[in-house]
Symmetry: C2
Subunit: 254 residues, 2 copies
């Protein structure tokens, strides 16, 4: 285990850059922190490039021996952390181009979901619902943003996540027999009135503007979650959870 | 309109205290900020004690003329705000003891939901789902915390919210023919397997520990949202949204 005390160390400067999108894009790497996320990352050892532990923390048993490890000072830990109080354990991970399994039956498409906390929660919910593939359209927050990683609680390592043009994806999916559902408050059906099809894709949209109208035009059907009370709308993460669980039922019943 | 420039003004000192639970408990008042929340508050004019607008902001037309209004300096606005960048409009509101309508058919009980953002999102979701009454058990975050108010986006003014002992409420509701559903990962049924009853009550629990076992023992039935993928759990706001929308369907179909 190598020891790094100074925040001026070249490695530390590299790691710090991964807190910014520019640094992640440049290196094709990202940084995760906390016991849960680092352990999840280590389930895919080829993803993990390095593990860093603060001097007061023992390297856990589950850390693969083949991976470079660094013992770091509290100052270094603070410098590379995105949280107020870090747990003292970090990993550097490589972005991996995901592959879609041939049997994929459920797809989640996101159109410009901008809030990192929302994006992470949606990824975690999609994982729970057993979604096979997540596709991020333009304008969506960076999926390797530390706040997205934290909110998703490790689901980045469970579900293939890729970027793409949503209109092109809709055409491609429809040509493969996938029923594509948009979500919209206008010109849409209450979700309970629709009998879920398998395979399916669901599109969720931007927090303020919803799914782009040019995308909604291409879907097979657009759904909404009825508002029975006086609130103006549901948070996109909640509406997404309700719609996904309604739709996945058909997939898991097969 | 009175003019207040100094943060040392006695009124300002009173208002600032409402950012803390102690101050709210002591005066039975709370403070809301932002155009949307202040406008929602003004729908119930008897609730609003005062409106404050920053000197660069016009008092909106919807502000009831009977209410005391104050023009305040940017320094005062900053002092009484809970946000980084305030919108320059605030209201002082009185806590109101809510009344339950006789025809109430849907109840949401919360057992120690601690995160203010989660509590606010649950209140907003319950409003959307048309829940008639929300009951907060011990250990739940203060419902008048500024972050709870912001996340709920005005639903505080739509749904009666009260504090109470959950075990006592369960007995009372059951004696009135209300079916009470707990939520739990152990000893529970998948929610889809349960035919919703009307009237009903749903209990959601603490983010880490769920609903207290002594409470779960008293319910008619305990439900869970199945995890089909590899994530360990759902966020309580998402699980709550899925369960509520499953259950309210029976109420709204009547």
């Amino acid at each position: 285990m190598k020891w790094i005390q100074s925040v001026q160390n070249e490695k530390v400067k590299e790691w710090k850059k991964l807190l910014q999108k520019k640094g992640r894009d440049h290196t094709n790497q990202y940084i995760v922190e906390g016991f849960h996320l680092v352990e999840e990352a280590c389930q895919n050892p080829s993803v993990v490039q390095a593990i860093m532990v603060r001097q007061d923390i023992d390297l856990p048993d589950w850390a693969p021996p083949s991976i470079d490890t660094y013992q770091i000072s509290p100052e270094v830990a603070k410098a590379i952390s995105d949280t107020e109080t870090n747990q003292g354990i970090f990993a550097i991970c490589s972005k991996v181009e995901p592959s879609i399994s041939k049997g994929a039956k459920s797809y989640l498409l996101l159109d410009a979901v901008q809030d990192p906390g929302n994006l992470g929660t949606i990824i975690r919910t999609a994982d729970a619902a057993g979604v096979d593939v997540i596709i991020l359209g333009e304008g969506t927050a960076d999926v390797y943003n530390p706040k997205v990683l934290r909110s998703a609680q490790g689901s980045h390592f469970h579900v293939p996540i890729m970027k793409g043009n949503l209109s092109e994806w809709i055409s491609k999916l429809q040509s493969q027999g996938v029923t594509v559902y948009g979500s919209s408050l206008q010109g849409a059906k209450p979700y309970q009135s629709v009998k879920p099809q398998s395979p399916f894709a669901l599109i969720l949209g931007n927090e303020g503007n919803g799914v782009d109208p040019s995308v909604l035009e291409k879907t097979n059907e657009n759904l909404y979650v009825p508002i029975y009370g006086k609130s103006e709308s549901l948070n996109v993460t909640i509406a997404g959870g309700i719609l996904l669980y309604h739709l996945v039922h058909a997939v898991h019943e097969e």
